[in-house]
């Protein structure tokens, strides 16, 4: 972990606090920049500058074996880009991602890449677009088995596909049908069966339930929980829905405009959110408990990632912003006053660091979030 900035160094004790857990995935100051300039000729004739979009900027996190890390944020915050970087669908612009100690640059090619690719799989948001409509379900699920030459012989593959379909709650006979014959929830089950076919340890799930109705979402979330327990899977779970992340994740990272602004154990993050943006997001969730809690919708919107504000990207919407926030980018630092929670939280906020959020003295143990909601 050498060569990290002052802010990053604080992450080390946080990881050390969890006894015996081995980190499976580590993203180290990763960044991804997209070139969204106009075509060369237009640019030259129109004297337009090159346009670069920093979708992910200096993001660091680790995921322990058997754990679920949730990433939440609003549209355009870079969470899906992180997912694609982790499985190697995009090339990193900066930083490194290691999987079980090995650099995933190797994913791209070679024998080592093939071995590594088998161990991590992805589930996509849209079950209508991620399954080949011309293939039978059995072929879709069997593809990873064939691609990685995991089993020999038609009969063995067939038996394995039937077992996978049964594992996700489908019938063996469903293998002979085509994707269009299934509902959204069933298609997502097929996606999961396909992801499991190569016997991975790590699943990256990009909004896997966002396209589904709540009752179907509950079926899929329950299934993912069961599979995690049975197979010892590790998840990176991306969602814009805080309640879903609260349900499924052990630790949660909150992203805003390409950066992680807060990352902490689930209980701590939801009970005692520290970053003003996290607090705003939690306040914005509609209240099912009908306590009549006054919601204070935060004014303003996410700025364009093409032209992010200087300093802390959240400062134009932040009630605590001062000159330093407008000038200097805050780095993730572990929070003092969050002792005894068992999981260190990290926050990227000058106000929290300086104790200007009026919360540090009280300690992070009790949170307004849960306390006020439960009061009803």
């Amino acid at each position: 972990m050498s060569g990290r900035g002052a802010g990053g160094a604080a992450a080390v004790p946080a990881r050390a606090t969890v006894a015996g857990a081995v980190e499976l995935v580590r993203a180290e100051r990763i960044g991804k920049t997209f070139d969204v300039s106009a075509p060369w000729l237009t640019r030259t004739l129109g004297r337009q500058p090159r346009l670069l979009l920093r979708a992910v900027d200096d993001v660091t996190f680790g995921i322990r074996r058997g754990e679920t890390l949730g990433l939440v944020g609003e549209s355009g915050c870079g969470k899906s880009t992180v997912a694609r970087l982790v499985v190697g669908l995009y090339q990193l612009t900066s930083g490194t991602i290691t999987y079980d100690g090995k650099n995933i640059d190797a994913l791209a090619s070679g024998r080592a890449g093939r071995v590594l690719r088998r161990r991590l799989q992805m589930i996509f948001q849209d079950p209508y677009a991620s399954l080949n409509p011309r293939w039978r379900v059995a072929d879709i699920v069997a593809e990873p088995i064939r691609a990685h030459r995991l089993l020999r012989g038609r009969r063995a593959v067939h038996a394995r596909v039937d077992a996978l379909l049964a594992q996700v709650g489908l019938a063996a006979a469903d293998g002979a049908r085509y994707p269009h014959q299934f509902s959204g929830g069933q298609r997502q089950r097929i996606s999961i069966a396909r992801a499991l076919a190569s016997e991975p340890e790590f699943l990256v799930c990009d909004e896997p339930t966002s396209a589904l109705d709540v009752s179907v979402q509950a079926q899929v979330l329950n299934l993912m929980r069961d599979l995690q327990r049975e197979l010892g899977l590790t998840y990176l779970f991306i969602s814009h829905n805080l309640a879903v992340v609260h349900h499924i994740a052990d630790r949660v990272g909150v992203m805003y405009l390409g950066r992680i602004v807060e990352i902490a154990g689930k209980r701590q993050l939801f009970a005692a959110p520290r970053h003003p943006y996290t607090r705003m997001l939690l306040d914005a969730i509609p209240d099912l408990e009908l306590t009549g809690k006054a919601r204070t919708p935060v004014a303003g919107e996410v700025p364009s990632p093409l032209d992010p504000p200087p300093g802390c990207a959240f400062h134009p919407r932040c009630p605590l912003a001062d000159d330093r926030c407008r000038r200097e980018v805050p780095l993730l630092k572990s929070v003092p006053g969050t002792s005894g929670a068992g999981e260190g939280g990290e926050v990227a906020c000058h106000a929290v660091e300086e104790g200007r959020d009026g919360r540090a003295a009280k300690g992070g143990g009790e949170g307004r979030g849960v306390a006020s909601v439960r009061a009803g």
Partner: protein
């Protein structure tokens, strides 16, 4: 039917009254019944939430009320009354005068509700002058006032911008301004916040609530998001396979749901306040329109179904302060207190 009882429960006379609405889609393989015997009413100034999963028929009900059913869909029977006057059998031109003037509409995707080729100012003034007798200048002044009211900063400048120059949340504000520009008595809002991020969603919900309070506008809020209903609605109707499964005051339906479908639906929503290992799971999926089961449409997925559920279709009956269409409550009242939210507690 105890329509009289329901009316008595609401002290105010109904603004919108839907009775036994049935919507059919004739197809080559026979007629599909998308909405079957739906009845409800909305009082002036009241917010009625209509919740259900995809295909339950909630948007279709809204479209029928504003006369925008897409052919071949048609109202086969039943009636829709606005202020006591039937509006479901009006000719096209007469309905056009009501739509926009007395019933406003907000749809899910603000980009498709706005014309990309006209500035929002010209769309607003056109709508205002279609419905209200106003000069060009007065209509423009009203348009600026409306934009200010829905929270668009510097409306004098923004009025000449085009839809693509607005963000999603701001566009939805423009759509709301369009919907309220002729002071309608009723707004049909079909998934108004679904396409928006949570923080923007909160802004739009509080805007809708404030406008309804200030203007006394009634709202039919169609959504699949129970959280939005909980925050906004006075009463809620839960729809399943083209029928209302349960309807009643929002607190009652959320905290003490009666119909087994509502119980399951509430339990399946993840929450940030409780720590549950598993969510309540309703197995299976909503039936397709061409395969709606006999009896209660929910019976194949219902853990408490018995013989009668499989043969006879239940109608809405009073169960305490709510009404539910479920045979468990056939002896309404007597049984009402014996149904705790068993499924939800787990």
């Amino acid at each position: 039917m105890s329509a009289a009882a329901e009316r008595a429960a609401e002290t105010r006379p109904a603004l919108l009254d839907v009775r036994n609405l049935r919507i059919e889609f004739p197809t080559r393989r026979g007629t599909l019944v998308a909405i079957d015997g739906v009845s409800f009413s909305i009082a002036p100034g009241e917010v009625l939430g209509v919740v259900g999963e995809s295909g339950a028929g909630k948007s279709l009900t809204g479209a029928a009320i504003i006369g925008l059913l897409e052919p071949p869909g048609r109202i086969a029977s039943g009636e829709i009354r606005l202020d006591g006057r039937r509006i479901d059998d009006l000719p096209y031109d007469a309905m056009r005068k009501i739509r926009g003037r007395r019933i406003g509409a907000i749809f899910q995707d603000p980009l498709t509700s706005l014309n990309p080729l006209y500035s929002i100012g010209s769309q607003l003034t056109e709508t205002i002058r279609t419905h209200l007798d106003m000069s060009e200048g007065a209509a423009r002044a009203r348009a600026i006032d409306l934009l200010r009211e829905v929270g668009i900063p510097s409306p004098e400048r923004r009025i000449d911008h085009f839809p693509h120059q607005f963000s999603g949340g701001m566009r939805q504000r423009v759509v709301i301004a369009l919907a309220i520009c002729a002071n309608p008595q009723l707004i049909i809002a079909d998934e108004p916040t679904t396409a928006l991020d949570v923080s923007i969603q909160a802004q739009i919900i509080s805007l809708l609530k404030r406008l309804c309070r200030d203007h006394g506008t009634a709202v039919m809020l169609v959504t699949h998001d129970m959280g939005v209903i909980a925050e906004t609605a006075d009463r809620v109707a839960v729809m399943y396979a083209g029928r209302i499964a349960e309807i009643g005051p929002v607190a009652e339906v959320i905290h003490a749901p009666k119909h087994p479908y509502t119980v399951g639906l509430m339990g399946s929503i993840p929450s940030i306040v409780d720590d549950r290992e598993r969510l309540v799971q309703i197995d299976g999926a909503m039936p397709r329109l061409n395969a709606i089961p006999r009896g209660c449409a929910f019976n194949p997925r219902c853990a408490r179904a018995f013989d009668r559920c499989r043969s006879e279709r239940p109608e809405l009956v009073d169960v305490g302060v709510v009404r539910a269409a479920c045979w468990l409550y056939a002896d309404a009242g007597a049984n009402a207190h014996a149904q705790p939210r068993a499924g939800v507690a787990t």
